[in-house]
Symmetry: C2
Subunit: 541 residues, 2 copies
């Protein structure tokens, strides 16, 4: 949907032959995406490789072939574009994550997630920035502005939530998944806020007012983005429930859900909020209310369509990063000093690892202090996994680096080119090497429980009908909650002993009494006159 943008694009199409190369490059991409899907399917049982790494390697290979065929002149079949990434590829991924996330797990660990995502990212940012100033300052890399060093901190404190989603399994390691992924979402928002702050605030005369201003800015952004996402989600639920959409057409329901999800992201961007947070919460609300108000067919359709779109976008990003990495023009600049480039990349990787360790272990300790039961605490092995799973850097880092180190569309300045190539090196290395080691590491450190393992082997596909049913029961199964052994003491005592649970208890009461009668949801599906309604509990799909 390029709209007014599309008009600026050079004309081609069926009729004119002017920009035939554009069709060719879209064509190439579609073919490569198909190849990645088929290869990913064939490698499914492999314990080392996952789809991201396949896509990244295929991207690198294709870039190399293009380089060869153009005789080392250019692999410029495409240039990394922030728009493409932020406007078209990221929203479906994050929305789907919100739509499919196990809400109970997410909200139960909400405080820990916020601690990791906001405070942790700040710690990580400080350490990477300090490390960059100290260590990179010793090598003469040509960066003079303090803002550039701080930007490096923001760029490399953005973890790759896309890669995390592929590496961890929601069914096998629910706690880890919700912590690492939830952290990733909040982390995205935090690093973008940090990055914006660095670009707009006066960094030379830093004082308490600026820090306060910055904190207020973050809280404002977090709050308004969430409200916007929740609001859009509730609006979609309200409209679909009260106008009986299912009566006439399932297509309208599906279309409306897609459009409103995308609209929430666009609105956030329009008001300079965090689209990532907005669309994530919109996904959560839509799966809690809207999804239950639509017909059976629409439920299956939306569930799988969102997953498939997100899947395509993920592969696309890795393919894209892989192909872009071989852009010869950027590498030309560092030809004279390869050693320096390796040094910079290693320093950055080192600070990233130290920066992440510096918050995962202390904050896990803090979080464990507030938990009463052992099974709720984050074990040391789990802490190592959290630390490791967040080391990968991906497309968000790339996009931020391009934004900071590109002057009017070019990376011609020597020091900028060096920073871009270093970013690419870090992204490639962390995704491929750390990514390859993650699956074996997790299965070594955190062996999944037998029962869960059995279930997940029954439905190795996370959206197969069986796990779909399981997700249904797991996500919204309020009835099943009592089995976790929470007694029903007086509310004041509850609030002291387990605040999160108490909040959850009152939320459920509020949800059942006010929200669900108004916005629909499980058990509050409206009667659709004239449509072939089925008992949702009998035919869950």
């Amino acid at each position: 949907m390029g709209i007014s943008l599309a008009a600026e694009i050079a004309k081609y199409g069926v009729l004119s032959t002017s920009d035939h190369t554009s069709v060719a490059s879209i064509c190439l991409f579609a073919t490569l995406l198909c190849a990645c899907i088929v290869i990913g399917h064939l490698l499914e049982e492999n314990r080392w490789v996952n789809e991201s790494i396949t896509a990244l390697l295929i991207g690198l290979l294709t870039g190399f072939i293009i380089l060869l065929t153009t005789q080392w002149k250019s692999s410029h079949i495409l240039v990394f574009s922030e728009d493409l990434f932020f406007i078209y590829l990221l929203p479906p991924i994050i929305f789907n994550a919100g739509f499919q996330v196990k809400k109970k797990q997410f909200f139960r660990n909400f405080m820990t997630i916020m601690l990791f995502g906001a405070v942790g990212t700040l710690i990580s940012f400080s350490i990477i920035s300090l490390g960059a100033i100290t260590l990179l300052g010793k090598i003469n890399i040509g960066l003079t502005d303090i803002g550039d060093y701080l930007a490096l901190g923001a760029i490399f404190s953005a973890t790759d939530s896309v890669c995390t989603l592929q590496v961890l399994n929601q069914d096998e390691t629910p706690l880890l998944y919700s912590l690492v992924f939830g952290e990733g979402v909040v982390n995205d928002a935090t690093s973008v806020v940090l990055f914006n702050a660095i670009q707009h605030f006066d960094l030379v005369n830093i004082d308490f007012t600026i820090i306060l201003h910055f904190a207020a800015n973050f809280l404002y952004l977090f709050f308004t983005s969430t409200v916007l996402g929740v609001g859009t989600g509730l609006l979609s639920a309200f409209v679909i429930k009260n106008l009986y959409f299912g009566r006439h057409s399932t297509d309208r329901e599906v279309s409306l859900m897609m459009l409103m999800a995308y609209l929430s992201y666009l609105l956030a961007e329009l008001f300079y909020l965090s689209g990532i947070l907005t669309v994530f919460f919109c996904g959560i609300v839509m799966s809690h209310y809207t999804w239950h108000n639509v017909t059976e067919s629409s439920r299956i359709t939306t569930k799988h369509t969102f997953a498939a779109l997100s899947f395509i976008a993920e592969i696309f990003i890795f393919l894209y990063v892989g192909m872009d990495a071989l852009d010869i023009e950027k590498w030309r600049f560092i030809r004279d000093s390869p050693g320096k480039s390796v040094a910079i990349s290693s320093i950055i990787l080192g600070t990233v690892m130290v920066g992440r360790a510096a918050f995962v272990f202390p904050l896990s300790f803090l979080s464990n202090l507030s938990k009463k039961y052992d099974h709720e605490k984050i074990s040391f092995n789990q802490q190592i996994t959290i630390w490791w799973a967040g080391l990968m850097r991906g497309a968000v880092s790339m996009a931020l680096a391009y934004n900071q180190f590109t002057t009017s569309g070019h990376t011609d300045i020597h020091e900028n080119a060096v920073m871009i190539t270093s970013t690419i090196t870090v992204v490639l290395f962390s995704t491929v090497v750390f990514g390859l080691l993650t699956k074996p590491l997790i299965s070594y450190l955190v062996p999944p429980q037998q029962g869960l393992k059995h279930m997940s082997s029954l439905c190795s596909d996370s959206v197969s009908p069986k796990s779909f049913l399981a997700a249904l029961l797991g996500n919204n199964g309020h009835e099943g909650e009592e089995t976790h052994g929470v007694p029903q003491p007086t509310s004041l005592r509850m609030l002291v002993t387990s605040p999160t649970r108490t909040v959850h208890y009152y939320w459920r009461k509020f949800d059942d009494a006010i929200m669900r009668p108004m916005f629909g949801g499980r058990g509050f599906v409206p009667f659709v006159p004239g449509s072939p309604t089925e008992e949702p509990s009998v035919h869950p799909f």
Copy 2:
């Protein structure tokens, strides 16, 4: 998916604020699309208005409001872009049409459809061109090139298959639907070929060789496009069947089907073929083979996703045409001579009506000669309906007109601006006025059979589970075919008396013996190890 294109687009996104208007315009469009869907739903029972007209009117209204707010300076929130239309909006619509078309009806009337689509479009083209040369020549409109007049013929012989889809009902009037829609698809291809021929052939020294060359060109295009579409469809069926995709993930199946469908269109464009024909036949093959090889969930998902995407694209086009129509710059040129503009539009509309009448009635007569049974013949009322339903002109005409009458992105030349505004007038008038009258006209001329009417009132939604089941049985129910009273005579006699049926009979034998065992299809669903397979015949959805 803009890829290399996207790089050329002015930068915006979360971080920079440079091109915030682009986000705003995408946002506006998403909002309007939602509004159209909700209003279309509310007006569902209205017998006059349909979704296209709603979208067109909302588009006009929005354009008007923008004009007002910018103080009559510009409604330039977007410019009609051929790329957007041909690369992103048209493929899902045509693919979905092929995917959901009742194949038996389509192939039974194949000869009539080809007659209408190819020969009919040529007749229509000749009459409109002649009419333009004779009548428009009398008014001094400034067109001197014979090519411009012939281009007008090609532009206005392209019917609007999108609008047809919304007006006719596949369940109520299956014969009419397959004739008018099938004609529309072939017509699209023919008029694009004609248009290309006019732009590239030497039209001054026209002789028999050129006509022969032209005919060969058309046949080549038709044949290769069909082969490409069928080939891509079969490849997807083969891959999904033989690699047991359903074993691991339904998302991969859905993604692969989407990508390969789009790939077929892109490949056709890449090789300068007719993408419309290719993607249409790809849709037919995918629904006949691939669709049966995937899991239950994937079947429901693809069915509804393709329908929803097509639905969104359709509304988008009408909204777009409506908003673009009020672009003040184009209308400025005709301010001094409004009478002339009205005259041109009326002449074009007149020739369009005559041109269509000139082939619908004679060709229906010809087609009726070859039919033995009365119920197979096209009645006079049906002929009038076919004539009427094809009078609407839509986005294809707009796109072709912009291509012909736009010089380097501008419509500044007076005569070009006049032709563009005339095209807009014809498109708006035919869509709104003819469109509004079509529903009542059809229900007056061709009252649907009682049984069918009853069925369709049960499932007014054309993709509700019930009609989905009906479509399944109707589409692929080879068993039910014998009830139409075809005896099994010797093959030679059959070939003489009813050639289409004979072809169908041998096709079925070939399909059952060779194609379906290789590519899957109903009754040949592969056993998927480890997946929850259900009996497809018991649970058709």
